[in-house]
Symmetry: C2
Amino acid sequence: MFKKILYLLLLCLSTKTFADDGYRLWLKYDLIKKQQERESYARLTKFIVVNSQLDIIKTASIEFQSGLKGLLGKSVPVVTSSKSTGGIVFQLSLNKDLNEEGYSITSQNGNIVINANTEKGILYGTFELLRNIQTGKSLANISIVSNPKIQYRMLNHWDNPLGTIERGYAGSSLWKWYELPENIDPRYKDYARANASIGINATVVNNVNASARFMTKEYLLKVKALADVFRPYGIKVFLSINFAAPKILKGTKTSDPLDPQVRAWWQAKTQEIYSIIPDFGGYLVKANSEGEPGPQDFGRTHADGANMLAEALKPYTGVVIWRAFVYKPSSKDDQKGDRYKEAYKDFKPLDGQFDKKVIVQVKNGPIDFQPREPFHPLFGAMPKTPLAMEFQITQEYLGFTTNLVYLAPLFKECLESDTYVNGKGSTVAKVIDGSLHDYQLTAIAGVANTGSDRNWTGHFMSQANWYAFGRLAWNHELSSEQIADEWVKMTLSHEPKTVKTVTKLLIESRENYVNFTTPLGLHHIMGQGIHFGPEPWLMKSDRPDWASAYYHRADTLGIGFDRTKNGSEALLLYTSEVQNQWNDPAKTPLPYLLWFHHVGWKTKLSTGNTLWDELCTRYYTGLASVKDMRKQWDSVKPNIDKEIFEDVAGRLAVQEREAIWWRDACVLYFQQYSKMPIPAQFPKPERSLEEVKKLVEIYQLR
Amino acid sequence: MFKKILYLLLLCLSTKTFADDGYRLWLKYDLIKKQQERESYARLTKFIVVNSQLDIIKTASIEFQSGLKGLLGKSVPVVTSSKSTGGIVFQLSLNKDLNEEGYSITSQNGNIVINANTEKGILYGTFELLRNIQTGKSLANISIVSNPKIQYRMLNHWDNPLGTIERGYAGSSLWKWYELPENIDPRYKDYARANASIGINATVVNNVNASARFMTKEYLLKVKALADVFRPYGIKVFLSINFAAPKILKGTKTSDPLDPQVRAWWQAKTQEIYSIIPDFGGYLVKANSEGEPGPQDFGRTHADGANMLAEALKPYTGVVIWRAFVYKPSSKDDQKGDRYKEAYKDFKPLDGQFDKKVIVQVKNGPIDFQPREPFHPLFGAMPKTPLAMEFQITQEYLGFTTNLVYLAPLFKECLESDTYVNGKGSTVAKVIDGSLHDYQLTAIAGVANTGSDRNWTGHFMSQANWYAFGRLAWNHELSSEQIADEWVKMTLSHEPKTVKTVTKLLIESRENYVNFTTPLGLHHIMGQGIHFGPEPWLMKSDRPDWASAYYHRADTLGIGFDRTKNGSEALLLYTSEVQNQWNDPAKTPLPYLLWFHHVGWKTKLSTGNTLWDELCTRYYTGLASVKDMRKQWDSVKPNIDKEIFEDVAGRLAVQEREAIWWRDACVLYFQQYSKMPIPAQFPKPERSLEEVKKLVEIYQLR
């Protein structure tokens, strides 16, 4: 026996179990090191009482068993009833303090009871209990009541049929369409587990720039295979649709939403989908945006298009999620033209015209997932239309997978912004969770950062962004620090100094990134071709509002986009209280200054610096902060798995290189206009402007 | 202690060490089950005598130690000298029976001595010795002398800078260009290990449709980081070049190879490359092919272009590998026009005009990696020019990653083809290995099937194609069976029935694939957009020679491409002996019949069937063989790792579905011309022609 164990052990060793490749995410379930701790948990988890055969309940008990097997190194029996104490009880029973997916976890006469109204609540409660053990919390007198604040907590995958991912940087798509439906990659299940563990209950598996092939039976059967894997984890599948699908698939002569044949086509298609996937979630639509087809191609409105799909979905539980990310090129002679205003112009007038089954999905900011944006003016402006939040988890504009940027602070900043539409405290979060306008449907979406890379997200630390999105989707009142602390303990280490250091690293990372790329409210000055590196010098593009100069408007007088009534008037889209925050350049918080004002180079800022000096200071300190991040990371080396440590250390080194480009590019480019010297305390840039331009060009070559 | 071990073990179990995800390829080093066997090997491997500090020798000893740690579950000490017996001795000493990379393994007074002229020989000998243990061979009185028959044994990666792979189906590129040079993915090393273990000593890391960015210092430093990882495994890095790079990178006004400034640019660039990568392998060039730039853009010949690069490489060890894959569209009024002849027309006249440093790389067949092609007419036709073989390991035309197709028989079929240029026995293999024309440079390339998928190749069984390529590159006299047997034992199981069954499965798989896709010499009738599925009905494409009809020429009289003197005359490019094999439709072996002849539907074939009946029979039996493959695979289930078994079983199910499409599509389409019934013994097709067309269309949609 002993010999056998030794051999097995050698086998384990020989396959390098101990180098952590990050595949297990925050569900590691590694053995708790302190025997005492293990035993104290073991005393409270002697058995699981389960008296339901529901698949999702089964999922919960299996997950709990494998969790404890890992964490405590022991097997926990599942029983249907028990008189004794020291066990876990799954209690599926009516509880009016809980909504459909909520749960409570309480100590009741010697047992820990997970109570919920539905099997999904039990599943989420089970993961909560596991999380408590993973993060080392005491279970004695545990008393938790938790309800998700938002109904649809979803990932949007911008995954294409041939396996590429638009704005994906972590390998290719998780979905192997050629192999489906017959071959089921075991990874599909691990994907579902990870999402369920953080409360994500919906996923859109295909790109919003959608292929019509997903509306064919051939592909619906593939999607069904995924839905069958996700269902036991409480996850519903949605599909992005190509609005022109009826015509593309030769079902109709047009795709006009008011054409009876088109309406009939969508009704028949929807019926077919539900015959294949009975719990299908619904449609996500990118229409009349960036070249995609839509109702406006036929002189109809977004409401006409969305309502047609809602009509098709009427007999079913599904909903229509219609994206508000639209921006017509503003006409040359329109002096007030500003991409900032486009979505508002199109959608605000439609408030009240959408079917009850329609949700309008709005990006957090008015431009496009920049490192920092003001909240989107549509939030609060459509009281009669459920608005969903669209965040981007994949780091399209935040350094791909070579920059450590923890996004919870970005998400929170937007959610906590006050729209003032119903007076103080009318936060974006309250718009999204429906409490402000009493929406009957609520949703929040994150554009996924997952891919086929072994660690799922490319940059190991980007796993924290997937995690944070899910946790905030469930409860937007959690703090960024709280979520970071949880994630670090579940994923990296329990050693107090390490937890403290890495949490701090995460919390500060986003502001650091803003500082060395787009400080003081600069935006959209990155390399155009692939949204990589700096390109503030781009004066022209296929569209004026794709060029950097359109946004920074640097000239010999100053820099920044005047969006006040003297400028594009975009600021007028907000309530007067919000306008007052940002109207006066002297009072505008520095993070938003150049979003709304064209400011003179020599203007003195609240920091005491001139604008030019402050701009330089931000770029230089931004770079310094990256060097500091590397020091902080090095300091925790002894407590981090070697493979993970090396990977993050390597990427931080790349980040420093990129930060130098950004600083050199922006400081030298804008200096051409300011004609002012770089403050004396800072060293010279490492490269000439020409040299940085060349570097960025290289990355745009075929 | 015991308790600790138990916990460690639980940890291993909790991370599922036992489900095999295929990552370890054929280097599993799992513990040998029979204790007796382990001990008998252990008696002969008590220590390793190493008295060299060369990196590659270090690689060999480390690999041998970790191999034995896994296989025998014991640590083997490395010593610098030993009087005792029962050990392994690395002996670096002159041996005239061995070429530069060859090795001998012999029992000498109680030790096993690996002897070689260079450290690379020791490395290859070490892997040979490990392979002997992995495949259960006895080491008693071992006596092996092995020399690679070809100098450059290389992989060609068609990997693009942004991570996509042209014709790659196993995820995204292994090379993380954004992260390089700072971040070194541990996988780079495992890639090098796998290649070294089968004797591959060179790799071209970027696509032949090359980005000029690889000629910039920014990227050369990234390539250097890879070269540094590969070097200790005896692998040299090559780069594909964009012939217009001097102009694209604004170094010159033209890229004319005879322009002095252009020649100077390449000389300076080459010098720069060697200053960064001292053992750089050289350049691979796709010129004037499928839109790529080349010397003909300036009225120069391929020789002019290649010789310019050779001149730049003159001071260094590197070589130029120039691809012969070119095919101008033959002019409408050229009645004899045939893509088959294009490369020959361009290159044959240049024989003798290439610099000594130039190798011309020729695809195995005259068209493009079809499931079966006659050998390329250039083989044997350029005695003064070293010709390299280009095989395709990735299954562009052989079912991507959803079809089990073992390619060794395809490779062997070409290598063993007799060109008769110097009389009988003038095989293609002898052209490639230089023995026929006394080439001073020899090379063989395989277009890689590797990607970021965990198991490297998507279809687990496709690992065997990577393995087989390497083994044949080293010794083209190995049989397909021998290689399959080795691979199965190293990768899947030692259980005799399993080895026999899976080996048979592999050996028959390629002919099965030919039968249900392109039997009797049909070729290039697949879906054009992505080379997926059947599309024999394609009459027109952007180029006539991209359309299916161009190749099958089906009409009411018959089917096939007459390439005799009455047709395109392509057959006349071969020696008379070869012509005689294929000249007479009555005598032409059936696998090549429709490659060279337009045959009447009712023509009786050697099988006794009419052409039409034989065609139907092949498509139907091809499908039947897939069903049988599934049965064979199911029969070995008890002896195969569960995860691997399920994955292959799932893909075989997909393969059956695709085989049905092919059969239905081709039988029904050609029946429109033959106007003859499907032989009575066969069931009706499952779909109408319209239905299959629709299916294929779906997979070609955006």
